[in-house]
């Protein structure tokens, strides 16, 4: 601050500033009448020398900096008097007098003066001085043009700006303004205000961003620090799972376990055999499940969270291993194991088309985001692309997928993922026709893509779930353990508010939930009486989770508070208020 080195002790800085302060006792942008005599100030400043240089229990907060950002915050909130008063009372001015002079010169349009002052406000970096000078002189140039002082503008350009230009492009751009002005305003290129120069306060703001924070305290620094702290608190809150964004400054944010679904709200019993897969629609209003009983079911989720059967989809002659929702949730694809892919209309439950290929069987299915194409893995290792009419448009041959593999497509339709080798996932860029690969050190059984397309959750034979970042460089981010997997395909998924949780099925009949960031296991949900093969978290309701099990049932999990609410409602309708296949009290 001021024209002093940063590593000199704060007290010395304040002392020097005090000397300059006699001329300009306050740090406000507008010149206001000085408050208090300079002798009072001197006394107070000397006193502050004895005060602590650092504050706070850890001794890392410098008092001068702390007061300055508070002063800055007061000014940006509009409390000019308080800001000025604090500067005076603490004896810590927001800006050195040189900086104050600089700011006033900018606002007054004293360009020459400001460029000179620039050299005395303690900037060490020559390139910063150059850039700042350029900005100021550019402003001078444009203001002269707006005032139609073309000759003066040209002189400025030649003598003052040209030596500062880093590239001839800059110079050319500026001179083109001269040309268009001399040609007079033309119909095509006139802008409303016909002004080229920005406002002076705007220039000051740009300069502020250019200059180092030790010279001019950055705007909204205090707000930024508080937001940092709040973000850290929220990230550290392992159970944070709510839709509202309210956080208080009074206490550290910490959610309780009650924010995570942990109670069975409903048991859905419409399948006649093991349920292998399930997935909520994008809008959270439907749930689709598929089973070893060779059927799939579309369930409807009502506004109050009740799930009821909408359509039973029969037609496959093999167990149905997976389903895929179209982006608009109007259509559903189902895949029979090494058989065919069927497309269904969600509203009517009608089968719209059957996709099959002679001599081979289809093993996975997925929609293109625009709903025009259907992708399918084939058991000859290739991936086929079909039009809605059933015509095969493309076929990517070679080792693209395995007989047991998931298929995922990014929401912009650019990349397709599948398990191409025992220990590798292939990421195919359709447009660039390029490939990337995730290499694991053990066999991969299944995987899921995050909603933001940046992460892959990979399930391995050895009872581990790995989280991989695929945005830019591919790297392993986290591992989740605790569940059981020895024989079956067990699927896991992202879920909860901001997808901050990982949920997985397990062969010990429980649902497992981890906090994604910390890897901590935060919940195991017992209830099913058979292996839990798949879980799906409602993308729209962070408090609803569904699980599919070998016991032939689907469980809908919710918050404990919802369960209490449900029990109360059922007591009211005690003579059989029909919630389809819901079980009361069974946990």
């Amino acid at each position: 601050m001021g024209g002093v080195e940063d590593d000199e002790p704060a007290s010395k800085r304040v002392k020097l500033a005090c000397g300059e302060l006699k001329g300009n006792p306050n740090g406000s942008l507008l010149s206001e009448p000085s408050v208090g005599s300079s002798r009072d100030l001197m006394a107070r400043l000397l006193q502050s020398e004895d005060d602590e240089e650092v504050i706070g229990s850890k001794g890392v907060i410098k008092k001068v900096e702390f007061v300055q950002i508070i002063v800055k915050a007061l000014y940006s909130l509009g409390y000019k008097k308080s800001g000025a008063h604090l500067e005076e009372e603490s004896g810590i001015p927001l800006h050195s007098s040189a900086v104050n002079m600089f700011m006033n010169q900018i606002l007054d349009g004293n360009w020459g003066g400001s460029v000179v002052t620039l050299r005395s406000i303690g900037l060490k970096d020559e390139s910063t001085i150059k850039s700042a000078s350029f900005l100021i002189l550019e402003q001078k140039f444009f203001e002269l043009l707006d005032a139609e002082k073309v000759m003066d503008a040209l002189k400025t350009l030649r003598t003052e700006i040209a030596p500062l230009c880093a590239s001839s492009n800059q110079l050319r751009e500026l001179s083109s303004n001269l040309v268009s002005l001399s040609q007079g305003p033309s119909a095509g290129s006139s802008n409303q205000a016909n002004l080229r120069a920005k406002s002076r306060p705007k220039l000051l703001q740009e300069l502020q961003e250019l200059l180092p924070p030790t010279v001019m305290v950055p705007e909204r620094r205090l707000e930024q620090l508080v937001e940092q702290a709040l973000t850290l608190q929220r990230d550290a809150c392992v159970f944070h799972n709510s839709l509202d964004r309210e956080m208080s400054l009074y206490t550290d944010h910490k959610c309780g376990r009650d924010q995570i679904p942990s109670k069975t709200l409903q048991i859905l019993e419409a399948h006649s055999d093991e349920v292998w897969f399930l997935k909520f629609s994008h809008n959270g209003k439907y749930l689709a499940s598929s089973s070893n009983d060779r059927s799939a079911i579309i369930w409807e989720v009502s506004a109050n969270g009740e799930v009821s059967l909408k359509h039973k989809l029969s037609g496959h002659h093999k167990p149905v291993s997976s389903v895929s929702w179209s982006s608009d949730d109007h259509k559903l694809l189902t895949c029979g194991v090494e058989e065919s892919v069927r497309c269904w209309d969600v509203a009517s439950g009608e089968c719209l088309h059957v996709y099959e290929k002679a001599g081979v069987g289809l093993v996975s299915c997925g929609w293109s985001p625009d709903g025009k194409w259907i992708f399918s893995g084939v058991n000859d290792r290739s991936i086929s692309v079909w039009g809605l009419d059933g015509k095969e448009i493309e076929c990517w041959k070679g080792q693209r997928t395995l007989r047991i593999s998931d298929l995922e497509i990014t929401s912009d339709g650019k990349e397709i993922m599948s398990i191409s080798k025992e220990t590798a996932i292939l990421i195919l860029d359709r447009e660039a026709k390029s490939e990337r690969v995730i290499e694991e050190d053990q066999t991969i059984t299944s995987f899921s893509l995050s909603r933001d397309n940046r992460y892959l959750l990979v399930n391995l034979v050895g009872q581990e779930i790995h989280l991989w970042n695929i945005d830019g460089d591919i790297n392993l981010v986290a591992k989740y353990k605790g569940h059981k997997r020895t024989r079956f395909v067990i699927k896991s998924c992202f879920g909860g508010s901001e997808q901050a949780f990982i949920a997985s099925g397990s062969e010990d009949s429980q649902v497992y939930i981890w906090h994604r960031g910390s890897g901590e296991l935060i919940g195991t949900l017992p209830g099913h009486s058979g292996s839990v093969n798949c879980v799906s978290w409602n993308p729209v309701n962070p408090h609803m989770l569904a699980s599919a099990s070998d016991d032939g049932t689907i469980r809908i999990w919710g918050l404990n508070s919802h369960l209490q609410q449900q029990k109360k409602q059922q007591q009211v309708h005690s003579n059989g208020g029909s919630i389809a296949a819901a079980c009361n009290g069974r946990t």
Partner: protein, 132 residues
């Protein structure tokens, strides 16, 4: 049972006699001659797939003490052999991490089975006496 996860091998495959689940490749055989189980011949493989493991056990074999786990076919659950976790004798360390499949429990690459040779007498179950 849920949706069984199996790895599909390519090449000359040894598979489970009962349910045909792939277990190992011919090219991964380390030794054909040195291993025996109570049912006769057994082969040592560097890599075996589609098996689950039992509890760790200390077993005294002809070649010394070893920590082994029994291995079971994921398809049908029948025991197909054992895997060496730790060998306590230096000369036997090469076996660590490798698995033995009993010839009696698997179908060979040509689909052939192996009938237990009852003349292989008085060998302790799971022994791996080296002939050499």
């Amino acid at each position: 049972m849920g949706r069984l996860f199996v790895v599909n091998l390519e090449g000359k495959i040894y598979s489970c006699k009962h349910c045909r689940t792939h277990l190992a490749l011919c090219e991964d055989i380390v030794s054909k001659v040195s291993f025996h189980s109570r049912h006769g011949k057994a082969y040592l493989f560097s890599k075996v797939v589609n098996v689950t493991m039992g509890e760790k056990e200390e077993r005294m074999m002809m070649t010394g003490r070893h920590t082994v786990v029994d291995i079971f076919c994921v398809g049908c659950g029948s025991i197909v052999g054992w895997k060496y976790e730790t060998a306590h004798e230096k000369s036997q360390k090469y076996k660590e991490g490798k698995s033995v499949l009993e010839r009696f429990k698997v179908s060979g690459p040509d689909g052939s089975s192996y009938w237990a040779n009852h003349e292989v007498s008085q060998l302790i179950a799971g022994s791996d006496a080296d002939d050499v």
